[in-house]
C-alpha cells in the first residue's frame, strides 16, 4: 500500500515537473494530442505553427507584400505589378525628393481618386523584404525567419510583433484599403484584423515558432 502511494506521488511529481518544464521551455518538442484548455496556458508549437501559417497568409497578401519588396520599387494591385511613374524606394523607403510616397499617398484613403492612404506611407525596410529580387514571394520559413530575426526586425520581440500587428497604422490600413479608381473596393487579406491579431497572439504565445522546411 505504502509503496503504491509513494509511486503515485513520485509519478505525479514527475508529471508536474514535466508540465512545468515544457511550459517554461519555448523550444520544446510537440506534445501531440494533448488538449490544454486553461486560458493562461501558452500555445503549443503545433498551434503556433498553424497560427503562423495564418499570419503568413496575411503578410504575403498583396495589401501587405506590395510594400515588402526586395527591389528599389513598391508594387501595386492584386497582380503586384511594379508601381507606375517610376517611384522608387529612396534611402529611407520614403521615396526620393519630388516622388516621395506622400507626394500622392495622404493620411487616409482618397476614394474619390482611387489612391490608398495611411499615416506615414512608406516602404518596409529591405530587412523586411518578403520577396526575392524577381518579385517572387518568399517561403513561409524564409518570411518567418526574417520577421523573428531581431537584428532585422527593429528589435521586436514577440510582444513587440504583436503590438506592431495590433497598432501600426499601415498594418491597419491593409484591412481598410479603400477603393480603386474604378470605384471597386480593394481586395482584403484572408483574415480580418481581429483574426490576424488573434493568430499573431497564438503564434507569439507559442514562442513565435518557425517552420523548418522550405
Amino acid at each position: 500500500m505504502r509503496a503504491y502511494k509513494a509511486m503515485l506521488q513520485a509519478t505525479s511529481v514527475i508529471l508536474v515537473a514535466c508540465a512545468a518544464w515544457s511550459a517554461s521551455n519555448p523550444i520544446s518538442s510537440a506534445r501531440e494530442g494533448v488538449a490544454q484548455k486553461t486560458t493562461a496556458r501558452a500555445s503549443t508549437r503545433a498551434e503556433g505553427l498553424a497560427a503562423w501559417q495564418q499570419v503568413y497568409s496575411v503578410l504575403t497578401h498583396a495589401r501587405c507584400v506590395n510594400c515588402h519588396t526586395a527591389t528599389n520599387y513598391p508594387q501595386q494591385g492584386d497582380d503586384r505589378h511594379r508601381h507606375f511613374a517610376n517611384v522608387v524606394r529612396g534611402p529611407d523607403g520614403k521615396g526620393v525628393p519630388v516622388l516621395q510616397c506622400v507626394t500622392c499617398h495622404q493620411e487616409s484613403n482618397a476614394d474619390s481618386t482611387g489612391v490608398p492612404g495611411g499615416h506615414n506611407w512608406h516602404l518596409a525596410p529591405l530587412s523586411m523584404q518578403w520577396q526575392d529580387l524577381n518579385d517572387k514571394i518568399l517561403s513561409s520559413a524564409e518570411v518567418c525567419q526574417a520577421v523573428t530575426d531581431r537584428s532585422k526586425n527593429d528589435h521586436l520581440d514577440g510582444q513587440g510583433l504583436l503590438r506592431h500587428h495590433e497598432e501600426e497604422p499601415l498594418v491597419l490600413w491593409a484591412f481598410q484599403p479603400g477603393r480603386r479608381i474604378d470605384g471597386t473596393p480593394r481586395t482584403l487579406p484572408p483574415l480580418t484584423h481581429e483574426q490576424f491579431v488573434a493568430a499573431t497572439r497564438t503564434w507569439v504565445e507559442a514562442g513565435t515558432p518557425c517552420p523548418q522546411n522550405r
Partner: protein, 154 residues
Amino acid sequence: METYTLTVNGQPKEVTVDPGTPLLWVLREDLKMTGTKYGCGIAACGACTVHVGGVATRSCVVPVSLIGDRPIVTIEAMAEDPVGRAVQDAWVSHDVVQCGYCQSGQIMSAVALLRSTPKPTDTNIEASMGGNLCRCGTYVRIREAIKTASQQLT
C-alpha cells in the same frame, strides 16, 4: 458640399465643393488658376504637381478634404520665388519648352528637387524627375536646365 479655406500662394481662398474634388480641379475651376494642368488624373504624369506643406504633391489625386491647413504653392508663384525664378530662367535660356503643357509640373518638380538637393547629380535628377512625363520629349534639355539652375543657386 463643404466649405474649405485653403492657403494658396500665401492667400486665403474659400471654396465650397464636394469633399472628394481633387485639389487640381479646385485650383483650375473654382480658383481659375489654370497653370496647374490635367494630364492623366491618376498621378502618372506629374502635370498637376503643386507643393503642399512644402512637399511636391500630385494634385489630381489629392481630394481637397485631405489638404487641411497645409499651405499650397502653385506654378503661378514661381516667378516670385528665388528657386522658382532660377528654374524658369534656366528653362528659358535652354529653350526647354515645346508644347509646354507638362512644363508647369516639370518646373514644380525641379524646384522641389533643388530645394532638397541643391546640387543634384544625374542620378538624383533622373530619380526625382522620373515620374514627370513629357510627350514632346524635352528630357535632354530638362536635365541641362536643372544643372544650370543649380549652378545659379549655389
